[in-house]
């Protein structure tokens, strides 16, 4: 009997109920170790947390990223600067346009042409960046609400995201992996009627926002699950290097678009929302407000966008027009060299950064004068934010991991680089 019982115990990992003695039917006072992830419905991306729980309370956690290692940095050493754009699409794949812009900016800074990008190209970059920021926040907020049981807002928000994706598809040709921005400008001009379509879409999204805010903001369940959960102090946010909506929810007034203005952001008006508590509810509110600010930026951009070139007139980085490529040997050679050898970026090293969906997204590149980076490093906000996750979930319930993780908005493609 003893053998059979211990065998069952071995298989079950615990005693069966009928084998328990009376004093054992109480909950065990020992700590328990459980795995969450790497593949778990509530884990954004593939990340694993080894939890030590006391009942339902997390007393210790070990957050282990790296399951989605994409070799972005190493692959970049073997690809030309232009060929790296598709790789950046896959960093934060919810807002790829912003990553495109960041990568273009680092190459332009090294070539010293950052100030010469045509105005129209800069406006287009900001338009697609802000559209991406909206899709990023819609996804983050919608998915988090869904994970707390609010399935409706998720569907509403993804409906809005889909409108934007469709528009971005008309711009770039791809719904998600755009590869639209180029060193020196953008790939092609905005399609006809884009302005009207975007204006209409923004109006529709505003209606969706009203609907969803009505469903969530005063919702008792939602507030109970978000308010006071995963709070971080302003000091901690700064000490750990948090940026973007997470840092702003803690009251850190840092936005690359305001503090290190790039592109045409100085020419548009917008506000940077900040929170006070630094908890999940503040992160939610900051993101919702940023969507509204992005809509505001987009409306200004559509009004102010000038006509003109969308690519710098510099043979070092602009591909010649197709008609010339086929008809003159000079353009043929230039086209060939751009494609096969890549854009020649002068030797040097530099860091360029943009405000990504999750905060400061930076690229540090060491160039050796060839068509490929000698070394490329990406400062991805998700990686930094994930490093705080262990602290944030400490002393919370297991169920609270879900909103905390949702609001950190860790994107595997960006975190694991």
């Amino acid at each position: 009997m003893a053998d059979a019982q211990s065998l069952r115990q071995l298989v079950l990992g615990r005693k069966d109920v009928q084998d328990l003695s009376d004093n054992e039917t109480e909950l065990p006072p020992d700590l328990m170790t459980v795995n969450m992830g790497p593949s778990h419905p509530a884990m954004h991306g593939t990340v694993r947390i080894v939890l030590t729980v006391d009942g339902e309370k997390v007393v210790k956690s070990d957050v282990q990223p790296g399951y989605l290692h994409r070799c972005f940095e190493k692959e970049s050493e073997h690809a030309t600067y232009t060929q790296i754009f598709p790789y950046t699409d896959r960093l934060n794949y919810v807002s790829p346009m912003i990553n495109n812009v960041g990568w273009a900016m680092v190459a332009e800074k090294l070539m010293g042409i950052g100030k010469d990008i045509p105005k129209r190209a800069e406006y287009i970059r900001v338009i697609v960046s802000e559209m991406s920021r909206i899709t990023d926040h819609l996804t983050c907020v919608g998915a988090s609400a869904m994970e707390l049981g609010a399935f409706g807002p998720f569907l509403f928000f993804l409906k809005g995201r889909e409108w934007l994706y469709e528009l971005l598809e008309t711009v770039s040709g791809a719904r998600l992996t755009h590869t639209y921005v180029r060193v020196g400008g953008v790939n092609k001009d905005l399609p006809a009627g884009f302005s009207d379509k975007l204006t209409h879409t923004l109006n529709e999204i505003e209606k969706v926002m009203v609907e969803v805010e009505g469903l969530l903001n005063a919702n008792k369940i939602f507030r109970d699950r978000m308010a006071g959960i995963g709070a971080m102090t302003r000091e901690d946010a700064i000490a750990t290097g948090c940026v973007g909506p997470i840092a702003r929810a803690c009251g850190v007034d840092y936005d690359v678009r305001k503090d290190y203005p790039y592109s045409i952001y100085p020419e548009v008006e917008f506000d940077v929302p900040v929170g006070t508590h630094g908890d999940c509810l503040d992160r939610y509110l900051v993101r919702v407000e940023e969507i509204k600010q992005s809509i505001r930026i987009l409306r200004q951009c559509l009004k102010q966008i000038p006509d003109g070139r969308i690519m710098i007139d510099d043979p070092r980085c602009a591909l010649p027009p197709k008609v010339d490529t086929y008809n003159t040997i000079e353009s043929m050679i230039r086209h060939f060299k751009h494609i096969v050898d890549g854009i020649k970026v002068p030797a040097g090293e530099t860091y360029a950064f943009v405000e990504g969906g999750n905060g400061e997204l930076g690229f540090f590149v060491v160039a050796d004068g060839t068509g490929r980076p000698y070394k490329a490093y990406v400062r991805s906000p998700s990686f930094v934010h994930l490093s705080t996750a262990g602290q944030l979930i400490h002393n919370h319930l297991i169920a609270d991991i879900v909103p905390i993780f949702g609001m950190i908005n860790m994107i595997g493609g960006e975190c694991d680089k």
Binding site: E330, M332, I333, R334, K337, A347, G348, E349
Partner: protein, 536 residues
């Protein structure tokens, strides 16, 4: 923030500058002071400083003609621009390569050169390793200001057995003409007509058929001369280059294997002033075809496929009879590397054999021309001799095979002077990369890597030991020959073991007095031609 390091400035020394040695000359190029041997030209001196003055007609292995004018530089106190390839350095000379005058000259020259150049890059074999493409992109990169129709010339002109000429692509640098004169001594190419009708051609009734003709394809800075063998087979920028040594004859020309998808696509010469300078013969270039033909990919026993374990056991059994009676021969190969021969010779010595045989291809006296081509078409006769001598083994040619022999352990697929019927009657075990010739008589055939597939060394007719690198893995189950020898040794209870060609090499160098000082070079990483720049 950008932290581009400024180029080092030539610092003026307040004290007297260091005295120039009598055989050297001090000059200043773009602000950098440099000492070079007397008689150097300005272009080479600049190259030592890392300044790449553009040039089409200049080639370090050819006479200088200063014909393309692409390398013009300005020299202080000289009113006109000078061709840097022809200008010999002088004491105190001050050269500028980036001043407006010479920059403009380069730009305008390129504009002229491209005037009649066809828009062929997508179908041109040279694209990706083209000097014209490279220089245009680096030094001009501007649109043409001329809108006249291009002069049309002949395309796909058959110049000879190996070469096709596209006269439109030719930029008339005359490198190929000088290459024919230099490598073969035969003046088979020249220019005809004048002005923009000038074309490269063979004299009437002549063919470009000298045994070194394909060197003209290598030196061509554009895609005017293309090899029939390589034409339209593979884009140059997709290839990887691995350094090796030609196995076509005893000269041992240094080469690069250009390979992709575990397959060699062409062989090109690699510069070595002591052996082949910049050249190699056409026959040597075609030896790569053999790497894909009639290969033995798996071991066979009595003509049927067998796994390694069974084949090694069968080989040991076959050899056991002859070995115990002392009627047994080991045949080394003049076609195999030093390491493979040393491993087999060591096994023979461990088995108590007193003399070994060597097999190789019979010499071709008609080949010898006093240049690179020699009569002995085996790459490693000298190495086999040195190894046998060092191990105290008497070396005999294979046709002197003892009539009493009952068992043969041979390396390689040639066995001159031994009848097929006789081989078939012997316990014949062969380590071979190819399945041909005497291999069909073998009781056991063990597959080995060919020369391009394993690391090793060969010894040329001057006794120079040269390193070959593995470009791609051998087909099927084939292993390096020394590794098969080790397996045979272990199956026969002989104490012999290596785990890497480097270890075989180390033991071999310890055994051969003349090779005491040799060291094993690091494995060469294949170089992607895409990022290697122009090769023209």
């Amino acid at each position: 923030m950008s932290t581009t390091t400024p180029p080092p400035q030539a610092t003026p020394t307040p004290d007297a500058p260091p005295p120039t040695p009598p055989d050297k000359v001090t000059l200043v190029i773009d602000g950098h002071s440099i000492q070079v041997p007397k008689g150097t030209n300005v272009l080479e001196a600049a190259k030592l400083l890392g300044i790449d003055i553009s040039a089409f007609c200049y080639h370090p292995g050819l006479p200088i003609v200063a014909q393309c004018r692409q390398c013009l530089v300005s020299i202080e106190k000289n009113p006109k621009l000078q061709p840097s390839c022809q200008q010999i350095v002088g004491e105190g000379m001050v050269v500028h390569t980036t001043d407006p005058q010479s920059t403009l000259a380069r730009k305008q020259l390129l504009e002229f050169t491209l005037l009649n150049h066809p828009i062929d890059c997508p179908i041109c074999d040279k694209a990706g390793e083209c000097t014209l493409q490279k220089l245009y992109f680096e030094h001009d990169n501007a649109d043409s200001r001329v809108d006249t129709p291009k002069v049309e010339k002949d395309k796909a002109v058959d110049l000879g057995p190996h070469i096709v000429l596209d006269q439109e692509r030719c930029i008339l640098c005359s490198r190929c003409i000088r290459t024919c004169d230099e490598t073969s001594g035969q003046h088979q190419l020249d220019f005809a007509h004048r002005g923009d009708h000038e074309v490269l051609t063979t004299p009437p009734g002549e063919k470009l058929d000298n045994p070194y003709s394909l060197n003209t394809v290598d030196v061509c800075p554009v895609g005017a001369l293309t090899s029939k063998d390589f034409r339209f087979t593979m884009r140059a920028w997709e290839l990887d280059a691995t350094p090796s040594v030609c196995n076509g004859c005893a000269t041992g020309c240094n080469i690069e294997i250009h390979h992709k998808n575990e397959r060699a696509w062409r062989l090109v010469p690699r510069h070595n002033p002591n052996v082949n300078a910049y050249w190699m013969c056409d026959e040597g270039r075609f030896t790569y075809h053999d790497l894909r033909e009639e290969r033995l990919a798996g071991a066979t026993v009595e003509g049927l496929p067998a796994g390694w374990d069974r084949a090694i056991k069968a080989a040991a059994d076959q050899l056991a009879v002859g070995r115990s009676a002392g009627q047994f021969a080991v045949v080394l190969s003049a076609l195999a590397s030093n390491e493979d021969n040393f491993a087999l010779a060591s096994l023979a010595k461990a088995w108590g054999v007193t003399h070994v045989y060597v097999a190789g291809k019979p010499p071709v006296p008609a080949r010898a021309d006093g240049r690179l081509r020699v009569a002995d078409i085996n790459p490693n006769h000298a190495g086999v001799k040195a190894i046998a001598e060092a191990l105290g083994l008497q070396l005999k040619p294979s046709f002197e095979l003892d009539p009493a022999i009952r068992g043969v352990l041979a390396l390689g697929d040639v066995m001159p002077g031994v009848e097929g019927d006789r081989l078939a009657s012997l316990a014949y075990v062969v380590l071979t990369s190819h399945e041909r010739g005497p291999v069909k008589h073998a009781k056991v055939a063990l597959p080995i890597a060919a020369w391009a597939e394993c690391a090793g060394t060969v010894t040329n007719n001057k006794g120079l030991v040269q390193r070959m690198h593995a470009a791609f893995p051998p087909p099927g189950q084939a292993l390096a020959a020394w590794e098969v020898v080790v397996r045979l040794a272990q199956a026969t209870g002989t104490k012999l073991s290596w785990t890497h060609a480097r270890e075989v090499f180390k033991d071999m160098c310890a055994a051969v007095p003349a090779w005491k000082e040799l060291t094993w070079a690091r494995e060469a990483r294949p170089l992607a031609l895409r990022f290697a720049g122009s090769r023209g």
